[in-house]
Symmetry: D2
Subunit: 361 residues, 4 copies
Amino acid sequence: MSAGKLAVGILGATGAVGQKLVAMLASHPWFEVTALAASERSAGRRYRDAVHWLEPVALPKRAADLVVQGVAPPLPCDLVLSALDAVTAKGAEPAFAAIGTPVVSNASAFRMHPRVPLVIPEVNPDHLDLVATQEFGGGFIVTNPNCSTVGLTAALKPLDDAFGVEAAQVTTLQAVSGAGYPGVPALDILGNVIPGIDGEEDKLETEPGKLLGKLAGGSIEPAPVRISAQTTRVPVVDGHLLTVSVRLGTRTGAAEARRALAAYRSPIADLRLPSAPTRFLAVLDGDAAPQPRLHASLGGGMTVAVGRVRPCPVLDVRLVVLVHNTVRGAAGAAILNAELLVARGLIGGRRPARRPPPEPL
Amino acid sequence: MSAGKLAVGILGATGAVGQKLVAMLASHPWFEVTALAASERSAGRRYRDAVHWLEPVALPKRAADLVVQGVAPPLPCDLVLSALDAVTAKGAEPAFAAIGTPVVSNASAFRMHPRVPLVIPEVNPDHLDLVATQEFGGGFIVTNPNCSTVGLTAALKPLDDAFGVEAAQVTTLQAVSGAGYPGVPALDILGNVIPGIDGEEDKLETEPGKLLGKLAGGSIEPAPVRISAQTTRVPVVDGHLLTVSVRLGTRTGAAEARRALAAYRSPIADLRLPSAPTRFLAVLDGDAAPQPRLHASLGGGMTVAVGRVRPCPVLDVRLVVLVHNTVRGAAGAAILNAELLVARGLIGGRRPARRPPPEPL
Amino acid sequence: MSAGKLAVGILGATGAVGQKLVAMLASHPWFEVTALAASERSAGRRYRDAVHWLEPVALPKRAADLVVQGVAPPLPCDLVLSALDAVTAKGAEPAFAAIGTPVVSNASAFRMHPRVPLVIPEVNPDHLDLVATQEFGGGFIVTNPNCSTVGLTAALKPLDDAFGVEAAQVTTLQAVSGAGYPGVPALDILGNVIPGIDGEEDKLETEPGKLLGKLAGGSIEPAPVRISAQTTRVPVVDGHLLTVSVRLGTRTGAAEARRALAAYRSPIADLRLPSAPTRFLAVLDGDAAPQPRLHASLGGGMTVAVGRVRPCPVLDVRLVVLVHNTVRGAAGAAILNAELLVARGLIGGRRPARRPPPEPL
Amino acid sequence: MSAGKLAVGILGATGAVGQKLVAMLASHPWFEVTALAASERSAGRRYRDAVHWLEPVALPKRAADLVVQGVAPPLPCDLVLSALDAVTAKGAEPAFAAIGTPVVSNASAFRMHPRVPLVIPEVNPDHLDLVATQEFGGGFIVTNPNCSTVGLTAALKPLDDAFGVEAAQVTTLQAVSGAGYPGVPALDILGNVIPGIDGEEDKLETEPGKLLGKLAGGSIEPAPVRISAQTTRVPVVDGHLLTVSVRLGTRTGAAEARRALAAYRSPIADLRLPSAPTRFLAVLDGDAAPQPRLHASLGGGMTVAVGRVRPCPVLDVRLVVLVHNTVRGAAGAAILNAELLVARGLIGGRRPARRPPPEPL
């Protein structure tokens, strides 16, 4: 264990998001992976033997040698990052919190729980204060949204701040990595698209309201935004694309909307968190942007890309959004939440040194 | 030339839609391909040598042996089917009409011309009467819509009849065959999706109004429907998928909308045209339908499939539509228009025998 | 049950090959599906509810309504076609044979059994006589080869007849449908190729020897051909491509080899079996043929395509082979074997009428 | 221009390999891009406007602002890296050499020229001495091999050193990026594979002999290795996979062959060139490795991966090889050759500082 780093346990370490966490934390300046937990089938085996490694980099040696443990507290770590499925998370995450281990979760189980913060650091970092209301035990649970919700909300936030967002129509084109592993059978998706992803539309229609809501008096008052989501699965590995049309409270033109998007300033920019991208939102030029293959990895996968901001003949403004679903929409989302918790002193009890300011590109 | 068949020339015969016309007409009961015309590069060569054959069936022998001619009248045929690009069509199609050759065109050049019928036989067959107003010469021009427009309008028509359609939001996921050949580079689309298809959104936003419009006093009064279209290209070979949300004049539930779609009766059903599918619209069950790979070829590619008819939290009703873009949306659309013209006596001067009624499935 | 048709049961009816059998038999002139059997999970449910239908045609109504039964005799049918996995086949197929039901199997369990014919009708129809040696009971078991083996052997047979085949190097590029359903996860194969398909190389290296062998004295003497197979999985839905290099007994040029391939005459051509293609082997011209998307469906998927017949700098002759893996390599292979058994009087006790001779294309 | 860096011009800068060179040199420790040259169509425009940027990273700002020049000397640089097509290279590369500009080329035009070194630094670095024999003028031309040749030769070299290689059978599964841009039409390759890539088989059959040959008396005596290559294109973006069977001079087992591959030591390891990977050859375990998506980017794309080393029933040993075609097989190959030329004092007249030794993983 490197001096000065926080020890991190990963719940659901053999799944697709768990693997991404392992890969992203391999050389993290603040965190070090000290425990890997997964289902009974994997527990007791070395991670290298238990995992069907899917990341396009070599399996980090330190993680490879760890013996996988069961998903139950205690684990030898200062916090856990959870990549569990919703059902397992429902039972396991409170158990970790109960013994004083902070849980930073990508699972959906507690996202809409009234005392659990649902946070995108660049959107609603103040919602973290909600943890003070939790009664899980000495620890707490903090969650990040569904992968598509991250992209949608990143685009809605600047518009909501500037003009108010009343309603949004969204169609998603989602990558297969969002379904985990083994996930989508090749026979279903090769040269095909599939409408209707189980459970996703409900998340897209409810989570943005909480994210754009206001914390007051110890609870979140959701923003009054109506959302209609149609989801589809497409034969793309990484990167969810969303077409969005928005009804604004203050009718405005596309040029103003574009300016508001481009001008949006991350409220945590000054913290210079290790995983925070230089640009939270990149507003791209061109009629054919963003695209998953070209733009999903901007900012190391942590930048949300927006393009084609145009007037909408039916609502007010329309645009296209791209989010790297397993980075910004899952593993990176949880890591950035954990970094913010550390910076706020809610984990680890000290604030690590800031990154030096980035050089301009 | 088989006795009793009409002689058909194909304009743009080496392109993707031209090839589909050749393939679909190989054993047509009324039509026989007697002339193939293409650009100067191909003219003078046998079709088998000039074409980069892309259809998954053997090149029909008769067509293979024809010598490709230039795109200029006259051609040895009773009518021409045009799969030309818009620019070439602009000049060539009136030239054929001028010498008395009926032109049934898939090109966009004259779709919005006030005297040119834009027809989906199952939607607005009466618009064919507009040809009486044309002054191109002894012939005339009839067009079919853009491939995505066919799918969208097929779904809107029953709703418009029953409840009135005020507005529609549509996002398309379009197959690469819609871009012709060579069309989309593999490097652009493999494992990727591309938003924004040049020119398509304008067609989707304007053509349905004409198709749903009323012919009165020798001109079409377009239906007052506002449409917002966002297009994307996806790595699918054939089959455009559309997610659609609709604002209805009479607010109604999803169940009523579904019933209207399922109950829609084709106004040309009694004609039993050779290329008309048993079902114009197939309303599919299940949360994951329609899909291009499974449903694009229903009815030989001439059936439009609809699924996921649900209430929309922002507009009124939403649904998913699938159309085989090169069959129902292009080659088959033109062929069916030609068949309808024959049945109406506007081509060939006689009505061929009807098909026997189909057996129930 | 249609008068005069043989009643067929399908074992493993819900799997990918089972579905293909259902689809191909929907309008078969000799056979009618009267029983569908699958694992306990499906037994007792209507086929329409038990199956995740993957074929791009509508589920045939008659089959859809059948109640799925367990994989155990007796079933109400004159013969069974087996699309079982090898382990289940090992127990179930002899049980059907024991009660007098002929088993025509695509499973690998008995392919190399010394008394079980392994047959490609156009290659070694005489091997069917081996059933006389079987002692399973009143019935018998006949098998077809592995999907890739069909393609390889189809190409080797004319060369073996003409020049003798001593050895062959083969690399396969295999479609995902060959792995069944759910089969290959999309995350593994999208934009990727995977070397090494479990169990396939052994089949490719052993089955051709039996197929090219001689039946004498009640047993098969395998042909002395050494084969080296390297398999890969590619993101293709249907159609296995094989690159092959051959060492011949009589050294010969590529032109002679090509002539031998083109001149090969199917020994069962005169029987005009319903599923036998007009051409068993199609030798294609051009530097870029055959290709799965263009040529896998030639002859309704029952034609094996060969191209690029050239001299080999290391062995003698090289070429490329394409076989539709779920039709010619699986479902169609079993159906054609069943048709041959009927024609030989080994099933049904009568010879159905021949097809009329095909018209030239 | 950064102090102490060598100024590099890129010929063919708007093509796929040219773009990869721009991306890889964006933060190179020794080289800085000062000139971009392309065809007349692009010349005179800012690179940002002239290029259809395909790399999944942001276009480097410095390159973006450069005005593209024509492909003719002189250019303001110390050396040029050429990503030209063969025909243009034939004329342009000698013209640059003639005025004293060293040319490090990925083009095929001069690869087999008797006085032009064809070099993989880890295989035959001594061949660079051949430049002394060139009479192009004050400069010289050095080339790297075809992308597939790099992978094949990397695997053959250790076997040739240890046992002698007499012959090799290779089948390639090549990514679409190898065909440049626009390259392969999506309609040709989506869900398909295409045998026979124009010109590639000849390169694969001739280049390895020169690479494995001996420099003696001012010329290369090619190694006496016979190669049979069958190429295919597959729907993969980056990474060529090769199945290989080898006839060895000294018959040996697969285990010994594997040991020789794993033990191979790069002759330039001590130079620690900036683009040289820690491992030139990675011998992977497992039945399903290597794979393009998982392993093409090992070592930043500069490591050649080998797997499935097994005995061959027809020749002696067989194995699977993977090479990142646009990095190790093209742009990175040229950059590493340039680095080696600098380290040898053949470019720039001084040796830059070595990299520090890498830390063990």
